[in-house]
Assembly symmetry: C2
Homo-oligomer: 466 residues x 2
C-alpha cells in the first residue's frame, strides 16, 4: 500500500478534492508513484488526511475518468500504465511502408513523383507571407468561401486561360485539398456510381479513389494517340478519366483529332462526362503548350482538374476543378455544404504570388531547370545501339525507357537497386493483368541534382549492360 | 473584312507563324479587334503578308485551339466572344446564398457558428511563421506523412490526454482538412454503408455527409442526458454519431452513466462503433472539463473527432480523428493512399504553437473572453418572469433559449429580424419532422462584441415583449 501524505490547504480557493486530485495526478505524471501501484482506499485516505470520504471519492473519480488510475472491483484503485499514454522516445511505430522508404533513402531515386524543391521561391513566399501577416487582419482567419477565395479563383481563371486556353469564370472553379479529394467530390456528383473508363496504364491514386467510392472501372487501352476511343465507345462507361496533355505514365500527348472523338463520345449521352486531369502540363519542352481538352469542349462535357502540387509544391495541398454548368448546378445543390478544404492563408499567399507575376517567373525558371535535367538524361541515354528506346519525352517530369537487353522489368529494377539506384517499373500502373510486352521503366528526374542524374544513369547503364 | 497589317521579321528567332499568332492574340486581348469580327481568310492574309499559306494556317489553328478565334464552316474565321472569358467588374455572379448573406450582413447575428477573431493570437502566429520561413527549409514544402506531421500529432496526443483524458499515441491520430472531410473518410472505412444513428436534433453538416455517402440515418431522440440509448438499442444502427460533451444544438452534456450505456451498446457487436464529435469542449465555464467518451472506452469502440476550428480558427482547416486499432488497420489497408489534406506550413505553425505553450495560453484567454460574453447574455436574459428559459449553458459558444410568449419559433425569428437582429431557430437542426413543441432558438455569442450583445439582447427582448 502506498502512503499518500498530501498537504491540504482548506483556505485555498482550490477545493480540497481538486487539491488531492492534482497532487496524485502530478505524482503519477512525474513517475513518483509507479504504475500498477495500489492506492490507499478512499476510506483510509480520508481518515489519513482528515477529510470527508466523499472528498476523496470525488478526487478518485476524476482520476479514474481521466485514466490516471483504474478501479478494479473488490481490489481497489491502481495507478494505470501511464507510460503507454505518451509516445516513448522520439519516433512512432514504423509501418512497413515507412521502413521501406527509410531503407531506400540512400539510393538515387528516379521517382516520377518528386519536384525540385531546391528551386522553391522562398524569397517571394517569405515576402508575401510577412506582408499578409504584418497587420492584424482578421479576415485571413475567417471562414472562406466554399469554393475558395474569389481573388485566387480569379487569378487561376486568368492563368488557365492564358496558359492552357481554358475558358472559365472564377465562379466555375472549386478549390480542394488535393486531386484525390476533388475526385472524391466529383464522385459525389454521380450518386448512381457510373462506370468509369480509365486509360490503361493510368494514375493509380485516381483508380483507387473511384474503386473506393464504389465505381466499376473499365480499363481502356492506350495507343500512340492516347485512350482508344473506339474501345471506349464499345464500353458501358459513362465517365472517362483521361490525361490528354501528358498521359501518366506513358507520356502520350493526345492529338486534336482524338480529343474531338472523345468529346463526340461524351456528347452522345447527357450523362457522359470527361475528367481531364491536367496534372503537369506546365512543363513542356518542345513546341508550344497544347491547349487543354476543356478549351475545345463546347458542350459542357469536360471536368478540368489542375494542381499546384507540381508547379509550386505538394505540401500546400492545393488543387482545383472546373465544373461545366450542368455539374456546377448539381454541386451547388448537393455538395456545397462541404466547407472549403484549402488553408486560407495558403490561398492568399498563392493569390498574391500569381497576381504579382511571381508564379509566371517561377514557372519559367522551373521549365528551364527541368528542361536541363530532361535534356541531360536524354543525352546520357544515347548511343545504346538500339537497346534503349525513349518515349514520352518533351513534356512532364519523367520519361519512359524501354530496355531491350533480355532483362525483365523486374530484373531491370533489381539490378539497378544492387547498384544503388531506384527505378520504377511501368507494370504497377496497369489495371488488372499487365499486358505490357516489353521491359519498360519510368525515369523521373525532377528531384535529382545534375550530379545524381549523371551518376545514376551511368550506374544503370552499367547494371543493364546497355 | 478586317485588314491585318502585321510587321513580320523573318530574321527574328520567333517563327513567323508565332509572330502572326502573337499579333492577333494581342489585338484581340486589347480589344482592337472587336468580337465577332470576321478575319481575313488564310489565303488572303498569306498573300497580304507575303508568307506561305501554311504559316497563316498554323497561326490560325493555334488561335482557334486557344479559343481566341472560331472557325465557322463555309464562312471563315471570327473573333470569339472573348469578354466572356474574363470576369467582368470585380465580383462574380452571386448565388442566392451569397445574396442572403449580404442582405444580412448589417444585422447583429447571434450565430452559433462564429468565433472571436479579434482575440486571434496574431503575434505568436507571426513570430512562428517568420521563424519557420527564416531559412530556406525545403522540408516545409516537401510532401507530408499521410496521417499528418508527426510532431503535430504528438502535440495533439499530449494535449488531448491532458485536457480531455483521451488516450492515444501519435500514430493513432489522422489529420484532415475539416470535420466533414474526416467524416467522409470514416465513411470509406464502412463500405457496407451501415445505418447511422444520430441525435435528433443534430449537427446537419454531419447528417449531410452521411446521407450523401449513401448511409441511412436513424434519428434518435435526445433527453436531458443526451441520446436515448434505449431507442438506439431498438434500432438497426451500427454507428452512433454523438456529441457527448456538448450536444449540438441542445447543449446537453451526457453523464457518465449514459456514456457507459452507449459503450455497452457498441460492445455487443463487432461492427458497432461510436463517433464522438468533441467539437467545442475546450470551452467549459463551470466545473472541471468532462473527460471525453473516448477516455472511458476500453473496447476500441470510439472514433474521436476533434478540431482547431473553434479553438484557433476555422480558416486553417485542421481537424483530427483518433481511430481505434481495428479501424486504423482498415484505414491503413484501404484508404491510406489518400494524401494528407492539411497544409504542411499550417501544421508546422500549430505544432510550434502548441509546443511553446501558446495554445494553452490562448485557450485560457479565450475561455475568459467567452465566459464573459456567456455570463453577460445569461444576465441580460434574467427577470423575464418565466417567459425565457435558458438551457445548454455552462459550455460552448451558444446557449438555448425557449421563449414562452405565444410566438412560434418562426415568429420569434421574424420579429427579431425586423429589429435588426438575426436569430437562429432550433428546427433546422431536426431530422425529418420537427417534433419540438416549444419555441426555441439558439443564441450564439462568440463573434459578437459586448456592445453588440447588449444592444442585440435588448432588441430581441423588446421585439418578443419578454
Amino acid at each position: 500500500m502506498y502512503e499518500l501524505t498530501i498537504e491540504l490547504n482548506a483556505n485555498n480557493k482550490i477545493p480540497l478534492y481538486e487539491q488531492i486530485y492534482n497532487f496524485i495526478k502530478n505524482e503519477i505524471k512525474n513517475g513518483n508513484i509507479p504504475c500498477k501501484t495500489k492506492l490507499p482506499s478512499t476510506r483510509a485516505l480520508a481518515k489519513h488526511l482528515a477529510v470527508s470520504r466523499s472528498t476523496v471519492d470525488l478526487a478518485y473519480a476524476q482520476l479514474v475518468s481521466e485514466g490516471y488510475i483504474e478501479s478494479e472491483p473488490y481490489r481497489g484503485y491502481f495507478v494505470a500504465e501511464i507510460t503507454l499514454l505518451y509516445d516513448i522516445g522520439n519516433g512512432e511505430k514504423e509501418t512497413a511502408r515507412e521502413r521501406r522508404m527509410a531503407d531506400e533513402s540512400n539510393l538515387i531515386d528516379f521517382s516520377p513523383w518528386g519536384i525540385d524543391l531546391s528551386s522553391f521561391p522562398f524569397n517571394a513566399w517569405r515576402k508575401i507571407s510577412r506582408g499578409l501577416l504584418s497587420v492584424d487582419n482578421k479576415d485571413l482567419f475567417a471562414p472562406c468561401h466554399y469554393k475558395g477565395e474569389w481573388q485566387l479563383r480569379q487569378e487561376i481563371s486568368r492563368y488557365l486561360y492564358e496558359a492552357r486556353g481554358v475558358r472559365c469564370l472564377s465562379e466555375d472553379i472549386i478549390l480542394g485539398a488535393g486531386n484525390e479529394y476533388l475526385l472524391a467530390m466529383i464522385n459525389q456528383l454521380f450518386p448512381d456510381k457510373p462506370n468509369v473508363a480509365m486509360e490503361n496504364p493510368t494514375y493509380m491514386q485516381a483508380y483507387h479513389v473511384f474503386r473506393q467510392n464504389g465505381n466499376t472501372i473499365i480499363p481502356v487501352n492506350v495507343d500512340k494517340s492516347g485512350m482508344i476511343v473506339k474501345e471506349l465507345m464499345e464500353s458501358e462507361a459513362k465517365i472517362a478519366y483521361v490525361m490528354p496533355s501528358h498521359q501518366f505514365p506513358t507520356g502520350v500527348v493526345m492529338p486534336i483529332k482524338r480529343r474531338l472523338q472523345l468529346i463526340e463520345w461524351a456528347m452522345k449521352d447527357t450523362e457522359r462526362y470527361i475528367i481531364e486531369d491536367d496534372y503537369d502540363s506546365e512543363f513542356r519542352y518542345l513546341g508550344k503548350p497544347i491547349p487543354a481538352l476543356q478549351s475545345v469542349d463546347s458542350g459542357g462535357k469536360v471536368i478540368y482538374l489542375g494542381t499546384f502540387s507540381k508547379s509550386i509544391a505538394p505540401s500546400i495541398r492545393m488543387s482545383y476543378m472546373i465544373l461545366p454548368p450542368s455539374l456546377m448546378k448539381r454541386f451547388e445543390e448537393r455538395t456545397s455544404f462541404y466547407s472549403q478544404t484549402v488553408s486560407k492563408m495558403d490561398q492568399m499567399i498563392v493569390s498574391e504570388f500569381m497576381k504579382d507575376g511571381y508564379f509566371e517567373r517561377h514557372l519559367n525558371k522551373m521549365r528551364a531547370v527541368y528542361r536541363n535535367k530532361h535534356d541531360m538524361i536524354i543525352s546520357l541515354l544515347k548511343d545504346s545501339k538500339g537497346k534503349i528506346t525513349v518515349s514520352g519525352e518533351n513534356s512532364g517530369l519523367h520519361i519512359i525507357v524501354t530496355v531491350n537487353n533480355q532483362m525483365s522489368e523486374e530484373k531491370l529494377i533489381a539490378r539497378a537497386k544492387e547498384e544503388g539506384v531506384l527505378i520504377h517499373g511501368i507494370s504497377q500502373y496497369y489495371i488488372g493483368r499487365n499486358n505490357a510486352t516489353k521491359s519498360t521503366v519510368l525515369i523521373g528526374f525532377a528531384s535529382l541534382s545534375g550530379e545524381e542524374i549523371e551518376t545514376g544513369i551511368a550506374k544503370i547503364r552499367s547494371a543493364w549492360k546497355v
